[in-house]
């Protein structure tokens, strides 16, 4: 498997060079966010700050704090609900198959790939109609509904690894649909819940199109607010970079601490599973 030994150093040089390329935006982001505004010039872009200035963080935080809070109000219930619905759907579609179940699953799955532009106009009309337009509750609802395909897929793949014989023997012991779910599927799928929760947390936190079209001003999640930071007349790049870091921090932390599950979800989300 390993290349011959004389190419080893070359291998590491390549990997390190590519790593530097991948880390370059992070480097620039961090050093720029720590510079005072007069040092944020194009010519000094790569240089370390002469003094650490945290004022851009203070400014970015004041501007983004309400939106960060909105994002948490959005992402926590939406993640929880979509994981719950996905697990029930996945359970039915993997362990209680019926005629046409596979076809139905494919029909549900298509919803994962559609450009959301193609449902956006009726969606906004609908949310206006039921009074959820421009509200976090409306966004929660939207993410739960459009999360159904992906969470169903991920749980269905996950439950496929639980042997059918286990379900059969539980049935013989008299357990029903709910009993099996509660006492066999849920305890065995804690990892599944973690994977789906991380996936949904990341996607909903990072989502932009629904957020920018369904909410305005003080209801906006953080990604829209971050985008609006750059819309102002004078672009304060240090504040922008600090804001970008703040907005990215929750998903970065999730990735740093639970990266293994994140990648699992990524692979599960690629249909092949």
């Amino acid at each position: 498997m390993a290349l011959r030994s004389f190419t080893r150093p070359l291998l590491y040089v390549l990997l390190i060079a590519l790593s530097c390329f991948y880390l370059m935006p992070v480097y620039v982001m961090i050093i720029t966010s720590l510079k005072p505004l007069d040092e944020v010039t194009l010519s000094q872009m790569w240089q370390l700050p002469t003094t650490f200035d945290f004022s851009s963080y203070a400014e970015a935080f004041t501007k983004l704090a309400p939106n960060l809070l909105n994002s948490f109000y959005l992402v926590i219930p939406a993640t929880f609900l979509s994981a719950l619905i996905g697990s029930l759907n996945g359970y039915v579609l993997s362990k209680w198959k019926f005629k046409g179940a596979n076809a139905l699953f494919t029909i549900i799955l298509f919803g994962m790939f559609i450009p959301y532009q193609s449902i956006l106009i009726p969606l906004i009309q609908f949310l206006r109609e039921i009074g959820l337009y421009n509200s976090i509750a409306g966004l929660v609802f939207v993410h739960v509904v459009y999360g159904i395909p992906i969470t169903t897929l991920m749980f269905r793949n996950f439950y496929a690894s639980i042997p059918d014989s286990m379900i059969e023997s539980a049935k013989i012991d008299g357990a029903g649909f709910i009993g099996i779910y509660r006492f066999i599927m849920v305890p065995l799928s804690i990892t599944g819940f973690v994977v789906v929760a991380i996936w949904q947390f990341t996607n909903i936190w990072n989502e932009f199109l629904f957020a920018v079209t369904i909410t305005t001003s003080d209801q906006q999640p953080v990604m829209v607010a971050l985008q609006n930071l750059s819309g102002s007349q004078i672009v304060q790049w240090n504040v922008q970079m600090a804001g970008a870091l703040l907005a990215a921090l929750p998903t970065l932390l999730v990735y740093i601490f639970l990266g293994k599950f994140f990648v699992k979800g990524l692979l599960a989300g690629s249909v092949k599973g």
Binding site: V28, W96, P115, I121, Q227, Y255
Partner: protein, 321 residues
């Protein structure tokens, strides 16, 4: 003894299934699925239908007007300079983006597969951009690729033109309809940012695939005198072809509907050199209140995605039935 009872049991369930077709629990299970089916039915398929209807209507102002105008909005769009530019941009963006994600992804996955030290550290470095949002990526790369800064300072030093981020040149610029057909140079900046963000996905896919190839396969190839390069190129990559198909499909659907990265990074650009249907749809519908035109753009986007996705879903369904 035990196996006898299970056989008996399965025979019994098979016969009861025949007689009553579904048990009470089975109906309960289906009952739990019903809300999701209804939601997907209405919010995906019903809403697509409604968007389709809006795209055939006259609703091009703040006041909804559902009078039927046939294909008028579509005819307008396909004759529109901006939309023609969008289609060209999407085509070249998609091709460059997918090619780069596959080539870089395979390359990195093969490097990581060499039993290197600190593998997980390197893996994490290549994967982490995926945890970021396109808006964050857009904001950062906008700063990095600004004309006469950052990467471009370096390009200038080695004598290359550094103004490509705002370059409106189309290469090779063959006149076609109202637009020049070719690669918009400014689009390359967006491709770089998108590739930076998404290669982790293909690295993960290829790495999982490489780890799934049994060592005996490699050994057998080596015994036949193949060198490492040939082992990968002739033996392993063909085995991983289904992964390449998956990566192409996933990346194609991302690139065909891309909106936030471009919206955050460049916007439509001068002469619409970095505009895409996602951005046009948003601006037309929610800034200009041309709802019917916006709906028509959305339907074109949906059809473009469906061309890739429907056959893919169809074939993967057949595989498991």
């Amino acid at each position: 003894m035990k196996s006898e009872t299970t056989v008996e049991q399965s025979v019994r369930t098979a016969t009861t299934r025949k007689r009553r077709s579904l048990t009470k629990d089975h109906w309960l299970a289906i009952g739990f699925l019903v809300p999701s089916i209804l939601l997907v039915g209405v919010f995906v398929y019903g809403f697509i239908g409604w968007t389709g209807y809006v795209s055939l209507s006259n609703w091009n102002s703040l006041v909804p007007d559902f009078s039927f105008v046939g294909l008028k909005n579509y005819i307008y769009l396909f004759g529109d300079f901006r939309f023609q530019a969008d289609l060209r941009n999407t085509l070249f963006f998609t091709i460059l983006f997918i090619l780069a994600v596959i080539v870089v992804g395979q390359f990195l996955a093969i490097l990581l597969d060499q039993k290197i030290q600190q593998e997980s550290l390197f893996r994490n470095i290549f994967f982490f951009p995926m945890a970021l949002s396109f808006v964050v990526t857009g904001v950062v790369w906008q700063w990095l690729l600004n004309p006469s800064t950052g990467v471009n300072l370096f390009l200038e030093k080695i004598g290359l033109d550094s103004k490509w981020y705002t370059d409106t040149t189309i290469f090779p610029a063959i006149g076609w309809g109202k637009i020049e057909f070719g690669i918009p140079i400014a689009m390359i900046a967006v491709v770089i940012a998108a590739v930076w963000q998404m290669t982790g996905f293909s690295v993960a896919m290829y790495l999982a695939g490489l780890r799934g190839v049994p060592e005996e396969v490699r050994e057998a190839a080596r015994m036949d005198g193949a060198n490492e390069f040939q082992v990968y190129w002739k033996i392993i990559m063909p085995i991983l072809r289904p992964i390449t198909v998956s990566v192409i499909i996933i990346m194609a659907h991302i690139s065909l509907k891309i909106f936030d990265l471009i919206y955050a990074m460049t916007g439509p650009g001068a002469n619409f050199v970095t505009d895409v249907p996602g951005v046009y749809m948003y601006e037309t519908t929610f800034r200009g209140n041309y709802y019917a035109n916006g709906a028509a753009i959305a339907i074109v986007m949906l059809l473009a995605v469906a061309i890739f996705i429907v056959p893919y879903l169809w074939s993967s369904r057949k595989g498991e039935a």
